[in-house]
């Protein structure tokens, strides 16, 4: 059983952090950044061609981390592989040591750096969760018996800032029903929006652990961009002003992250950090929290 699974099932607060594979084969930089903070992190989420930009494969990066005794959450999107490829990659990932998997739809191809690529989306995120459950049960999607089955601990994404929220709650409930054992959320900057999401989710009967998404804003400009361009990311004007008024933007940014964690930790079961190259500041963020 993975550490993440053990912690979440025991009701302990868990901390995950994203690690992005490089565009290229120079992995040392990212590995170094990750190893530096590994004592603070329960599992590293390795992204799967995040934002549809071509990068080294998630499974290879996961393996490099697992070889260093670092637990991973293998992120998997439905964008680039059909049901044959997805099932095959899952089996391979299990053999290579991955135990946690995050099932995602994936960004559309035209949003990335290869907009010419053919989008696949043979399955959607809920069907992928169901596929993982099916493989866990010892069969493939068409009912053929597997020679040895995995026992993945599967999770899914949730978006507290979704507007309207009702279909997001309905979809989250379906994800839980089809095998999501934890949720990692889109970046949160407004604790009230998060509190409302948790309230709606719990009153819809979903008791799946939720890990609040934390993404440091590197500048006021990035904050404005994310607020207007990333679906469901709502950044209050007051936060943008804090950043633009700050003499030390980095300090302020880390302070905002720590504050959001403190304001949401009691409502949820973990934190999911997305440092986007700021892995070195993760200890700063966490040391400012009450965790």
């Amino acid at each position: 059983m993975s550490i993440l699974q053990q912690k979440l099932e025991a009701g302990e607060f868990a901390i995950t952090c994203e690690a992005g594979p490089p565009k290229g084969v120079d992995v040392e930089g990212e590995l170094h950044e990750v190893e530096e903070i590994s004592d603070l992190i329960d599992a590293f989420n390795v992204t799967d061609l995040q934002s549809s930009a071509m990068r080294m494969s998630s499974v290879a990066m996961c393996r490099l981390l697992e070889e260093r005794d670092l637990e991973t959450v293998y992120q998997m999107t439905c964008r680039d592989r059909n049901r044959l490829g997805l099932q095959s990659s899952l089996l391979g990932a299990w053999v290579l040591g991955m135990r946690n998997v995050l099932a995602l739809t994936g960004d559309y191809t035209t949003l990335g750096d290869h907009p010419q690529a053919k989008p696949v989306f043979d399955l959607d995120s809920i069907q992928l969760l169901e596929t993982i459950q099916t493989l866990n049960s010892g069969e493939d999607l068409v009912g053929n018996e597997l020679q040895g089955s995995p026992q993945f601990f599967a999770g899914a994404a949730a978006n507290p800032g979704a507007d309207p929220l009702e279909p997001q709650i309905i979809k989250s409930r379906m994800k839980a029903q089809y095998g999501a054992k934890f949720f990692q959320t889109q970046a949160v900057y407004d604790p009230e929006i998060f509190a409302n999401f948790i309230e709606e989710l719990r009153s819809a009967g979903v008791d799946t652990p939720v890990m609040v998404g934390i993404l440091p804003l590197k500048s006021a400009g990035m904050a404005r961009f994310m607020d207007s361009n990333i679906a469901g990311v709502v950044i209050p004007d007051s936060v943008i002003k804090e950043l633009s008024d700050a003499s030390d933007t980095v300090r302020k940014s880390l302070e905002i992250c720590a504050r959001v964690i403190n304001d949401t930790a009691d409502l949820c079961e973990g934190v999911h950090l997305m440092p986007m190259g700021w892995e070195r500041y993760v200890p700063d963020i966490l040391s400012q929290t009450n965790l």
Partner: protein
């Protein structure tokens, strides 16, 4: 010319489980030509429905249901009968079902699976499109096709890129699943949003060729050998 195959009677019965009174609508265009729409099918469906205890509130065959202007005019003449119905059963291609769904504020049940464009593309004057997937889901999606209206063709709700009714892919592009959500809410069938739609089997879809016409194809020979 668009080719459709009738859905099984069992599947159609399942759709109508909660309805007492049904209006049966057929298409006199492509579907009449291929025998899956037209007057004969409408009569057949009405007869079966009556035999099994449903009230058929009315029937109509409209040439080219895909033409919303025409269909709207024809349906206006039977609006009272439609008003008295719990739902409509529409024997047409996926485009026609979607067009009818836009014209009436009742649930619209598809009676067919659309499988092919046939030998050449049909033309239709509206924005509704059909991918001829052969496993029509319009029953569960408020008469709005998730394969064509969602750019990713997702079958189980919007992705994380949907925000305030818009799709992440292009500014101004509506999120298909938001439209489905609103429509289901409007017709009081939000429960359908929690219906799990399994991956498409593509069993009727391959090459757009109906199953019975595939015997000469290489993959069919391979399949038969097993």
């Amino acid at each position: 010319m668009i080719l459709s195959e009738p859905k099984s009677w069992e599947e159609i019965q399942g759709y109508l489980e909660n309805d007492n009174s049904v209006f049966v609508l057929g298409c006199g265009g492509c579907d009449a030509a291929t025998g899956d729409g037209g007057a004969e099918r409408v009569t057949d469906l009405s007869k079966k429905l009556t035999e099994e205890g449903w009230k058929v509130s009315g029937t109509r065959v409209v040439e080219f249901l895909c033409n919303k202007a025409l269909a709207g005019m024809k349906l206006a003449r039977v609006s009272e009968q439609i008003e008295q119905s719990d739902s409509l059963l529409v024997s047409c291609c996926g485009i026609g079902v979607q067009a009818v769904s836009k014209l009436v504020d009742k649930q619209v049940h598809p009676a067919n699976d659309t499988i092919s464009m046939g030998d050449f593309h049909g033309t239709w004057p509206s924005e509704e499109t059909c991918k001829r997937c052969g496993e029509c889901l319009l029953e569960y999606t408020g008469g709005i096709c998730p394969l064509t209206m969602c750019i990713k063709g997702l079958l189980n709700g919007a992705c994380g890129g949907s925000y305030q009714g818009k799709c992440e892919v292009e500014p101004g592009r509506p999120c298909g699943w938001e439209l489905i959500y609103q429509r289901l809410k409007d017709i009081g069938r939000l429960d359908l949003l929690e219906q799990y739609n399994p991956p498409k089997t593509r069993k009727k879809y391959e090459f757009g060729v109906p199953v019975e016409e595939r015997s000469s194809l290489y993959w069919a020979i391979e399949a038969e050998e097993e």
